[in-house]
Symmetry: C2
Subunit: 230 residues, 2 copies
């Protein structure tokens, strides 16, 4: 199965490497392929430049946003939340039509300092997940994995034997079932993938970022998650 | 030690009963004592009227907001978030000055239907906890317990042997230490009471309400909480 990942940051790379390991054919989509391969800058978190990473992951395909969206039978949005809608418009609504789009992004607003808040207009009574669904009505948006560090997204068993929570929301039940199967392959048990209903539940999962960021500030590590205790 | 609880709803009553059990002298503060005792209406959640509850909890004192604030050496805000600032102004800033105010309220906005969102102006880049601290600069506001059902606030061992999370934030370290001791008496272990720093962290804990409400919508019970897995 062909999977496209829109975004080439640490999250996109982590997903790409894991999906390749699971046997998927993966294309990363970027704004400008030539620029991306030419740049030797590390990102803000000290991760190697894309070209450096690409040398040891050359079996991953690289294309423009629109090439990636065309290639993927399933598409994952792993762009920064502030760029997501723009990047997906460049990917092309016709290339995304009829497909599942897994949205793992968060509408983080770094303009007021640290820790970031959520972007105006995309929090509380709206969300980035909903905004994407409204912008691409022919695409089946499924929000998931956005409440944790990317290392845990693709390998929950790194901590607590994988017994911690991940949320799922979206308007299309069949799309959520298919995404759940992919999450199972990453190591998520069905019990720990909680379906919150339609895409408006993205308001709730995106609203977990403030507590996630504060806890990370205290524990000094992103390798944590929450478990539902009942 | 004398403790005042501002608010006579289910949360205030639950706290009052537990604090009495622990040997504290407790006064509940209400807007109008005569009206409160005269009313026989159940609340929106089917809890008995205050006068009904008071019959079997007559060792709890009842006073006006300002009588309660005067009485309490420590004060707890257990009002609805939309009324909190008004109720505390009626309690009187001079009666609250120099005291610890434990704020367990949430700025829920029911005006857009269910599940509620957070009140405009009191979310994302502000919070109710901060707003109260700004309104009463001579009071030591400590935000805690606002991320769970009141039954768990005062008796965390009801689920998962009490091994789940509660957050603490506030500008005064000594006040947080004193509140932590009270939380210990409720059954919270030090390990599970995570100090997130100053009162701006209330933005993060109040932002957990949307996910709390969605999970409650799925599990059909408020008797759950999150545990930090690392």
């Amino acid at each position: 199965m062909k999977i496209a990942i829109i975004g080439t940051g640490n999250v996109g790379r982590t997903l790409a490497a894991r999906l390749m390991e699971l046997g998927y054919d993966v294309m990363l989509g970027t704004r400008n392929v030539t620029d991306k391969l030419a740049s030797s800058e590390k990102d803000n978190y000290g991760n190697p430049s894309f070209s450096e990473w690409f040398k040891s992951n050359s079996n991953v395909r690289l294309g423009s946003f629109s090439e990636a969206a065309t290639f993927g039978e399933l598409v994952i949005n792993a762009t920064h939340g502030s760029n997501s809608v723009t990047a997906l418009i460049l990917a092309g609504s016709k290339n995304l039509a009829g497909k599942i789009l897994i949205d793992i992004s968060n509408p983080l607003d770094f303009s007021n300092g640290m820790p970031p808040s959520l972007l105006p207009g995309l929090n509380n009574t709206n969300s980035l997940g909903e905004e994407i669904q409204k912008t691409f009505p022919d695409t089946m948006v499924v929000k998931t994995l956005n409440t944790m560090w990317c290392g845990l997204m693709v390998n929950p068993k790194l901590i607590g034997n994988g017994d911690h929570i991940n949320f799922l929301s979206g308007n299309n039940t069949e799309a959520k079932t298919r995404v759940r199967k992919l999450l199972n392959q990453f190591g998520w048990s069905d019990e720990n993938v909680v379906d919150l209903g339609d895409i408006t539940a993205a308001r709730a999962t995106e609203s977990m970022l403030p507590i996630w960021l504060r806890v990370m500030g205290v524990t000094k590590s992103g390798a944590f998650n929450f478990k539902l205790v009942r």
